[in-house]
């Protein structure tokens, strides 16, 4: 069998030349101390950010109109979460896809969220001594689906013109049935802090899963407005950024860049498309040694002549003269 041809971008002659003393342990210790000094200096001078979390309480007090506008969409199933599709619910045609490739649909619903039950009716049912609320819930749940839809549609239209008076949401008069009491009570419950606790605990004492309160908060505008002010939105290259003037995640520059360019910047399947692109590029970087042309770039660009200039100079000096 003939030997494989030598390829300078894949193969190398192993070194038989001179060696110099090298103390690997001393190098590691010096580096450990140097990095320690660096991070202590940075921590003392610059610190780290800690912007406080948004709670449903904080949101509903700061902007009760936005809270009510979000709450009605949770009740009538038109919110971002309610129409999200897998893994939260089985909304048809909601999962992102590229042709036949629809992995979210294939994996299915494994973090089930029913926004009407989990975000509105369930929490209000934990207030059995509030008779007006319980009567409103009974009336709503006892009505036909078409009646419920008529009430919620009317309320959703009216709440777009709602105003805030002394922390309460004031909606123009209309035929909303029990929906006005339901949304008003939910807003009041949230303003006391009761909704944060109820959404998190779900009847359990210990819980570390914040899926439901986070989805509810993210459906509104309050969290997004804070993010917009901090340049953290997707169309602001926000994936790279940190709050305030702190450096963020510069290494995510390429990931967020794809969201800014066509066709991803206007695609409803942008997340899947960008992920596929980044997987291909990441695999390309991992398997670079096997990829012709790309693996020749170091030899073509000749940056190595600078790195190893002393070695090449020594070789030139040691070479016998031409004559």
């Amino acid at each position: 069998m003939s030997p494989r041809r030598f390829n300078p971008d894949r193969d190398v002659s192993e070194w038989k030349g001179a060696y110099v003393p090298y103390d690997i342990i001393k190098e590691a210790v010096v580096a450990l101390v140097a990095v320690a000094v660096l991070i202590v200096l940075l921590a003392v001078v610059l610190g780290s950010p800690d912007d406080p979390a948004v709670t449903l309480k904080r949101w509903s007090i700061a902007d009760p109109v936005d809270f009510a506008q979000t709450a009605i969409t949770e009740l009538d199933g038109t919110s971002g979460t309610a129409t999200y599709g897998p893994p939260y619910n089985a909304t048809p045609d909601a999962a992102q896809h590229m042709g036949f490739f629809e992995p979210a649909q294939w994996f299915g619903v494994h973090q089930p969220v029913d926004t009407a039950k989990d975000f509105v009716i369930g929490p209000l049912r934990t207030l059995p001594d509030q008779f007006q609320v319980q009567r409103a819930l009974n009336a709503y749940q006892g009505a036909s689906p078409s009646q419920q839809a008529a009430w919620t549609a009317a309320y959703e239209k009216a709440v777009s013109r709602a105003t805030e008076v002394n922390g309460r949401v004031v909606v123009p008069a209309g035929s909303y049935g029990p929906v006005g009491v339901i949304i008003g009570s939910l807003t009041a419950m949230s303003q006391t802090g009761g909704l944060d606790g109820t959404l998190l605990s779900e009847g359990q004492f210990y819980n570390t899963n914040y899926t439901k309160p986070l989805l509810f908060i993210a459906d509104g505008s309050f969290l997004a407005n804070i993010a917009q002010a901090q340049h953290l939105q997707g169309n602001q290259w926000g994936m790279m950024n940190e709050t305030g003037n702190f450096p963020g995640q510069a290494w995510l520059w390429l990931y967020t860049m794809w969201y800014q360019v066509a066709p991803m910047n206007s695609s409803s399947n942008a997340d899947l498309e960008v992920w596929v692109i980044m997987m291909v590029l990441t695999l390309g970087l991992i398997f670079l040694p096997f990829i012709p042309i790309l693996r020749s770039i170091p030899r073509w660009t000749r940056v190595y002549r600078l790195i190893w200039r002393r070695h090449y100079h020594a070789l030139a000096q040691a070479a016998p003269s031409a004559s």
Binding site: P3, E14, W15, K16, V20, Y22, L42, A104, L215, W308
Partner: protein, 231 residues
């Protein structure tokens, strides 16, 4: 009192060759003799400051883990209520920034040296995989902060991860799950892969320079497949 005078097993017996322990030990000894594992010399061509970025990356990782352990001592909420805790959070953040700073420069240097040459492809692969896994570890760290930043990052990132289907089981909104990935699974992954990377560096050595056609290197042994070399 009696002394056990039973004869010891002859170390060169044929039976030992079938022993898993002996075979693993022999393989490790031949792959990593002590002078290769802890060398006291290096090739003369290593005369550039670019070579320090590997050890700077590893030591930054050490400080990420050490500061992370201090934060773990007092729990995930400590740094919000204690100025000492906040200081250790700052140390942890800046050691992560240092880790990526040095790692990327190390990557640039190794790229321009085409450091995968000469059977060093696994060294390159483990290096890039460490980079990718480190990004995952950093991401779960951001999710574990329990503040506005983690709320925003989780509610945004969920869309990307849900689109791949992974969101069905890997729920970025589940603080408990993300914290355990961050402090248990991903550090183990990063340390194992980075450790393998460092062992590969010790096994194969630092890649020699590209050959200079005008001035060949001293007594260079042709690699497999090189004209005139061994088949």
């Amino acid at each position: 009192m009696t002394v056990d005078t039973a004869p010891t097993v002859d170390a060169s017996s044929d039976g030992e060759a079938r022993q898993w322990t002996a075979r693993v030990r022999h393989a490790a000894e031949s792959a990593f003799p002590p002078e290769r594992l802890l060398p006291d010399r290096q090739p003369a061509y290593m005369a550039s400051w670019i070579y320090i970025f590997g050890v700077l990356t590893v030591t930054s990782l050490a400080w990420v883990i050490i500061t992370g352990c201090v934060l773990a001592l007092m729990g995930p909420s400590w740094w919000h209520v204690s100025s000492t805790g906040h200081f250790f959070n700052s140390l942890h953040l800046w050691s992560v920034e240092a880790l990526f700073f040095f790692m990327v420069i190390h990557l640039w240097g190794k790229f321009f040296m085409a450091a995968w040459r000469g059977k060093r492809r696994l060294t390159w692969i483990t290096g890039v995989v460490s980079f990718v896994v480190s990004i995952g570890a950093a991401f779960t760290g951001y999710l574990s902060q329990q503040n506005f930043d983690s709320q925003w990052i989780s509610t945004q990132a969920k869309d990307g991860i849900n689109a791949t289907g992974a969101g069905a089981v890997w729920n970025v909104l589940n603080f408990g799950q993300m914290l355990m990935w961050h402090i248990v699974l991903l550090p183990i992954g990063v340390v194992l892969i980075a450790g393998l990377h460092v062992l590969m560096v010790r096994r194969r050595g630092i890649v020699p320079p590209f050959a200079d056609a005008r001035h060949p290197a001293p007594d260079s042994t042709p690699a497999d497949g090189e004209p005139g070399g061994a088949p």
